[in-house]
């Protein structure tokens, strides 16, 4: 087991009386693509800037590559950053921008030229070296920012919402390019984003943050499949919640009284964040099915369709469950021969007990 490249323990950050980060404990492994995900104002950018050295931490410790970063200024840390605005020097050409850090290190001219050419070619900007930086498009500016940071071969590359300024199509293309680039160079990437889809598709692991605290650290699949609380479940994708009351625990089984569904016996591991304080049952919209004709499911319940959103390949249904009027969303793939139900019709909703999560 190799040592984590970044170790944060008990890290706090205050701005006056406002606590921006609270008790951050986090290990980031060498060579992984790690994302800090959360809504705006959750402290993810502050955490990234603390790692880079632009924010002085109020308490706790920060180690990079085993060395304490206390009193180490940003210009001496083994990290480099891709800024949200890209921060391309407007008075320099593309190659001068990329050469900036190498010149700061006073490397010989021949080596600088060689490494700049390599970096420019690595990000697919061959032939752009002599271009003025202010004539570049958003995507090209981002590539320059990447080349400028990666040419220094940092131990960690920090990326602050690097894709948020790009249009949707370019963003999707850059997602896969960034992923490939990270695999190719083998450098640890730490990405800050508020876009859950971006985090899920690119990362090896994700830390979800709310209000200055880390709520969960997990792989994308685990985060989506087994969120440890209601807030995380709601932020990563969509989830239906039904009020629930834990009646009792017996070995690895839990007896729960769920709104509209009645008393159920669930496995203890379905309480992903621990059984303590659980008061809702969650289920993803795509885990539910609307049964067609003679189809059967492990469990079924009849519900009234109240709204239908037709998306072509998918249909989103909102249905009202009997007895308690709880509203839930169901997404269905429009496969051949499947009839799209209309508002007011009665649907047979099929579900399985194992798709439920017990959360707080």
């Amino acid at each position: 087991m190799t040592q984590p490249i970044i170790q944060l323990s008990g890290l706090d950050k205050y701005y006056g009386n406002f606590q921006a980060l609270s008790q951050i404990n986090l290990d980031i492994k060498t060579g992984e693509f790690f994302s800090l995900l959360g809504p705006s104002g959750c402290g993810k950018t502050t955490l990234l800037r603390a790692i880079a050295g632009f924010e002085v931490i109020s308490a706790g410790s920060l180690h990079i590559d085993g060395a304490s970063m206390e009193d180490v200024p940003a210009n001496q840390r083994p990290t480099n950053m891709v800024f949200q605005s890209y921060a391309i020097f407007p008075h320099m050409s593309v190659s001068e921008n990329v050469a900036y850090g190498l010149k700061a290190r006073r490397l010989p001219k021949a080596e600088i030229e060689k490494r700049v050419a390599e970096a420019i070619s690595m990000v697919g900007l061959d032939g752009f070296g002599d271009r003025a930086s202010h004539g570049l498009s958003g995507g090209q500016r981002q590539r320059v920012a990447l080349a400028r940071a990666l040419v220094l071969k940092p131990r960690v590359l920090l990326l602050d919402e690097p894709l948020s300024a790009l249009d949707k199509k370019l963003r999707e293309q850059m997602q896969s390019e960034l992923r490939q680039l990270q695999r190719a160079v083998g450098i640890t990437f730490v990405l800050v984003t508020h876009d859950q889809e971006e985090a899920l598709t690119m990362s090896d692991r994700i830390a979800v943050m709310f209000d200055g605290e880390i709520a969960q650290v997990a792989s994308p699949q685990e985060l989506y499949g087994k969120p440890t609380n209601r807030q995380v479940a709601n932020f990563i994708g969509q989830m239906n919640f039904l009020d629930a009351k834990v009646m009792g625990v017996d070995g690895d089984k839990v007896l729960v009284d769920v709104q509209s569904l009645g008393k159920l016996t669930l496995d203890l591991h379905q309480a992903t964040g621990g059984i303590e304080g659980c008061n809702v049952v969650g289920v993803r919209p795509e885990m539910l099915t609307i049964l067609d004709g003679s189809q059967a499911a492990e469990r079924e319940i009849e519900a009234e369709v109240c709204e239908v959103f037709y998306y072509g390949d998918m249909t989103y249904y909102e249905v009202i469950l009997p007895f308690t009027e709880a509203k839930i969303t169901i997404t269905m793939r429009n496969t051949a021969g499947r009839k799209v139900l209309g508002e007011g019709e009665t649907a047979r909703v099929g579900w399985s007990q194992s798709s439920l999560l017990l959360l707080k």
Partner: protein, 293 residues
Amino acid sequence: MKRVQRWLRGEGAQGLFLISPTLVFAVLLLAIPLIMVVALSFWTQDYLTLDRTFTTANYQTAWTEPMYQYLMARSLKISMFVTALTIFLAYPVAYFISFRVPPKRKAMWIFLITIPFWTSYLIRIFLWKVILGYNGVINGSLTGLGLIDQPLSFILYNQNAVVLTLAHAWVPFAILPIFVALEKVDRSLIEAAEDLGDSKLRRFLRVTLPLSMPGVIAATIIVFIPTIGDYVTPRLVGGPNGLMISNMIELQFKKANDAPLGSALAISAMAIVTFVSLIFIWLNRKYIRGPGA
């Protein structure tokens, strides 16, 4: 008729109406006198009678007579020193206000800088005479402290005094454009320079200073152009060795009764200022456009 009406409603015409008071003012008070001075410079004067036959003799005198050459060179030298000293004094102040003063207080600091303008320039010159004079503040304190036996004479009635007085007067005008240029420097660029490994001094020299150059050049033009033609400062604190070209132009128009030669000197000085300013404007465009453009 229709065409005239349409033109009157157009954007170009409206723009002209908007600037028309200024335009009339400029034509009456700048263009016409200027044309008169240009015309005068090609004539000759004998006591009070003007000879209106065309001649370039005044320009030949202005450019070949050693005394005029010398005065022109001295004026250029003094205004260059003033400009350099002004920028040198103004840059740190502008930097301080832009980078160290909290955003809420910046307006107040800019306001404080205008305080010297609350008193007349003439009074400020006389104050410098009080400070620099033979029995002035500096000499008085230095002799009082026993540091010197004789009052220093090199601080008043010479070129040093002109440079000092003018620089003090023009610093606020230089602070403003430099401050504006520094405010426009994207702070993330300076962070990027730090992130890429530069120390404080190096990131100032490689990022902040080059990006604030348009402001420095604007300040240079603002200070250089008026000071080269300054007339009152050398007259009051310059002494015989501190006189500049404008003092000579005045002499020609008044005591020497040679308005044509005075005009030729004035137009020559204008040509030199234009030439130097064009160099600065060219430099400015280079900085604004950046490389490769």
